[in-house]
Symmetry: D2
């Protein structure tokens, strides 16, 4: 068998672990050949690829990033790819394509699959928001990085009687905020899934100060929003192009809390440190298993599917199911966490 | 409600997170009272306990160990505890007891429960070998520590053309060896679940050297055993009391490989660093959820049960089921990992 | 002897290690008594203090923050403290005061010392900008945190062909940027000590892209400034109060580079994660030595001095010398680092 | 100029950082050529080398090990190297040789230098025992790894009322034990520089238990020795070849303490995890500076010297001085640490 592999979308710890695992399983388990397309679907369309042997993937397991590069592809070119899907497979002589990517990539993969490309997808997102799988690799690393940051910020907040607002990733789903907030013991957690009342956060902080705990840490997802009319003090700043720039909910919320509480509140925007670097052991194991199962699925001819974690098992689920809707934080998980506002 | 909590058995990262979570949920969610028994069941029998309020559990979430202490109890005294189970509950005025512990503790908990104590167990083991739950807290931390060690050892092995044998915990189940071996990219993994042939490891190392990869790392569970007659070079050493002391499979296997291969082989015994210290974010979240659900179960009157992770949900399972048999690494997981010998 | 200790100024990993060391040395080495003033000089003026025995400092060595709290004091109240310096010493019956703090605190300490308080200072700053000492504790931790962030960002920059701009602490001295930039292998480093030409950074990035290295990481101190007229594309945003808010050199430089290069450039502002949390081993050792030597100096009657690292030795230097001028990065260190712009 | 570089002796975090720095400075700063000899002096004698350009050292800064490999050379072949020193330089056309290594390597380097090879040495040892330099790279990483282990072990010791004995590296000098013991807050530290009385350790532990601190951690250098006749309970075990195998001071001391105290004592032998893996920021900076200065020294024609840290500066010192005697822990540092036995 000849297998193509590519990585698309944003960076995510564990991408290299999947690539390595695909190569290992395909070569030593089945005697296959593997080629890697460069910079995602671009490489597939433009014919940029290289053969991947054991040496090519030696030592990459603990490394962040992707040795194949990644790039976002414009919609038009994706359509182009979909239309020539069957020819592309023939052109490269590949019996299976394993795209590793997030929601956008999996949607594209489904288009390619529908158009005749034998596709086995591997889901990837630090946000953990892909349906059909209990967890995705990269998420555990992002939560770990955010938790370590909260751990560090807490000591400062406590020593200085301050409120710290930590903004973590998560535009549409608040999994990172939920789990790093729980792991770090944040006193307030704000998610995209539920509009928060600033007033409630103010009360929480005041209640803490009143019983002698003179600090608080709030963990807010970048996609969290205050309830309409609830955040009226702080105003965003306007840049030269007339729109708010480098202003996010973290900065705004810290401003608002400081104005309302009359106490120091400091924002910390974690940003891209959450999506790069060496993956946790958890993410390496999950990524390695996904790569292994993707190759097995290809050999069983299970196309149009993607790997998924279900309990302790890795199973295959239809791509259609995976991209049908975003996996957001359900009410019962917020209830459990207690400090979700 | 008045709830008693205790920790028993070996150390495990996340114990404090459970205690904190029990106290938080019970006090702020239900207006309960919580008391903590000291040094496991000993405290229950000897009347050593203290009230736990929010201040008592402040700041303990990221800390290893257990603020309540832990101790193993002799079998006789456990029977004593079981016999006076109902009286003990009455004596302390507790409506629920939440023991946090491993297989032994859960067995004892079941005895107490059968004898009339309203028990909700919380499973704990770095070995991940308790049935009925997908994972236990502490395991992820142990795997992370072992993986970081393998990462470090690999660079030395490579630079010095050496074989490194890393012995990790796992007397009866090889989960830590399996997952840290996979995450660290160990070239050989030996588990208690399958007797290994030293000859196969020798061949693997020689094959690696022959294709220019002049080093290898073997990850071996402390409970792994060579097949009968397979390890005949290295002999154990006899101490003053006539038995082998401080000799484990790691030391023995390194000896054997060095003698057979004629190449340097070095053992590293990770030992207790795997079971202490600050828990990973994953373990903190799982431990926190277990504590929360244990309190909820107590309020629903679901006794004789323990908390368990099933997919993404925390559910309750009967203690009887959990202790019926050890959860060992199944064949299919070994097959997936590829480097299990 | 009766010794008072206090911590003032911003948070800094190692404060607790100094406090612990002072208490250990004073109590077990000399049979002294130690009291800790709360929230810096405020506690000294307002009479908020508590006795510190071995139990009070148990377990605090690896913890960030300060068990004594810290607060900035207004200038007026500091003058008040200085004026009543001798009386304060008498009032509390202290034979020595050990203030642990940065440049401001040491200046205040000198005033108190001149006015009759027997003071032994301990310098503290994550910025490493205090003269008279080779290094200060807290700096190593800050550099480590910043280096780990750069390590993580590099993999993302590389996979996505991006420029990453990391803003680290250092308003007046660029030590953190210099050392984390070197340790992380940043391709450009900008310091407060030298105005940079954006044009030079643009050339460096273009040169890298032209030889196939399609990414770059720039590490910039928060106090770095572009040469006059060198950064003219990106404009700061104006908030509701008419001044630039939450806009720093990191955001601005990323904007400017993106506009000039026509390539994605992303800012990451590390902020407060650099100044809290568990200290590195290096900082714990230095902090512990400083505490030990401060007590010894007090017993030798060497007041008006502060502890300092000189080579491998801890010595005492006059407070006057330490606060005379800021220790900035000298030209020869920039020359060595090569990538300073 | 044409510069040769090689790494010899045991693994040490920072070796790759030196190699990278030599190549960067030589190529971009001076337009030199650099070749790397493989497996230490072996490569020099056997003609195994490769050119090193910027690509060859790309991405190696944070990696442990050495891309050039390392091997110990037999005394005879070293003599051979020394005898043909001048010819070797001519043969490879090198104007300078930069060997990076420990005490043995530097002694060999001195022999080569005396025999006509233009040598600039770079000292390397995780043990920090080379004279003439305040610190060596690799040491900070080793101390960090040991400190993290002690942090983890402490929580277990405390929860289980146990004595933990941690054996760290240091055959002839106790720097790692001293600094990790201080940083980890070990209650007892044993060094090669001073024979310890087991009885004193026993008293210390008993005193702790008597005042309610029911655990203790002892940090012992592998080269530490008990005073004659002081450790008479535990006996070493004899292996099949008639000598003690895999028994070190850590195991023996734990045995002895358990027998004397009647309390659980557990040994942990950290071993090779201390000498591999990614270097700390401190070690990366020091290693990078050493590489830079070695190239500068070569260009100034300062041969027979090695780089050294003196205060905050990197200077050159004669190789002769550096290898004259081992740098051991002086009495005053033991006095400062307080817990050295």
């Amino acid at each position: 068998m000849r297998i193509g592999v590519l990585t698309a979308g944003g960076d995510c710890p564990g991408l290299n672990a999947v690539i390595r695992s695909v190569v290992h399983r395909a070569l030593t388990g089945h005697g296959d050949e593997v080629i890697g397309f460069e910079d995602g679907f671009k490489g597939l369309l433009d014919g940029h690829y290289r053969p991947l042997d054991l040496n090519a993937v030696s030592g990459i397991l603990p490394r962040g990033g992707t040795i194949l590069g990644s790039a976002r592809l414009e919609r038009d070119r994706l359509r182009e790819a979909a239309e020539s899907s069957a020819e592309l497979a023939k052109q490269y002589g590949i019996d299976a394509l394993i795209p590793i990517g997030g929601e956008g990539t999996l949607t594209a993969s489904r288009m390619l699959s529908d158009a005749g490309m034998p596709v086995v997808g591997v889901p990837k997102t630090i946000d953990n928001d892909i349906s059909g799988t209990d967890r995705t690799f990269g998420f555990d690393t992002a939560v770990m990085v955010a938790t370590e940051a909260i751990d560090r910020l807490k000591t400062t907040a406590e020593s200085h009687q301050r409120v710290m607002v930590v903004e973590v990733m998560g535009r549409h789903a608040g999994w990172i905020a939920l789990e790093s907030g729980m792991a770090g013991g944040a006193h307030g957690i704000c998610l995209p899934e539920r509009r928060f009342q600033v007033e409630d956060l103010v009360k929480m902080v005041e209640e803490r100060f009143s019983r002698g705990k003179k600090f608080a840490v709030v963990c807010v997802a970048e996609g969290a929003h205050p309830a309409e009319g609830s955040m009226d003090y702080a105003k965003g700043a306007i840049d030269q192009f007339g729109h708010e720039r480098f202003e996010g909910i973290g900065n705004r919320l810290a401003s608002e809390l400081e104005l309302r509480l009359g106490k120091e509140a400091r924002p910390v925007i974690l940003g891209h440190v959450q999506r790069g670097g060496t993956p946790t052991a958890y993410d390496r194991v999950l990524a390695t298993r996904f790569g292994w199962h993707a190759v097995e699925a290809a050999h069983r001819g299970e196309f149009g599917m993607m790997t998924a974690l279900r309990g302790t098992d890795v199973i295959m689920v239809p791509l259609a199911e995976a991209v049908a809707q975003l996996k957001t934080v359900p009410e019962r998980r917020m209830y459990e966490a207690e400090s979700v506002f």
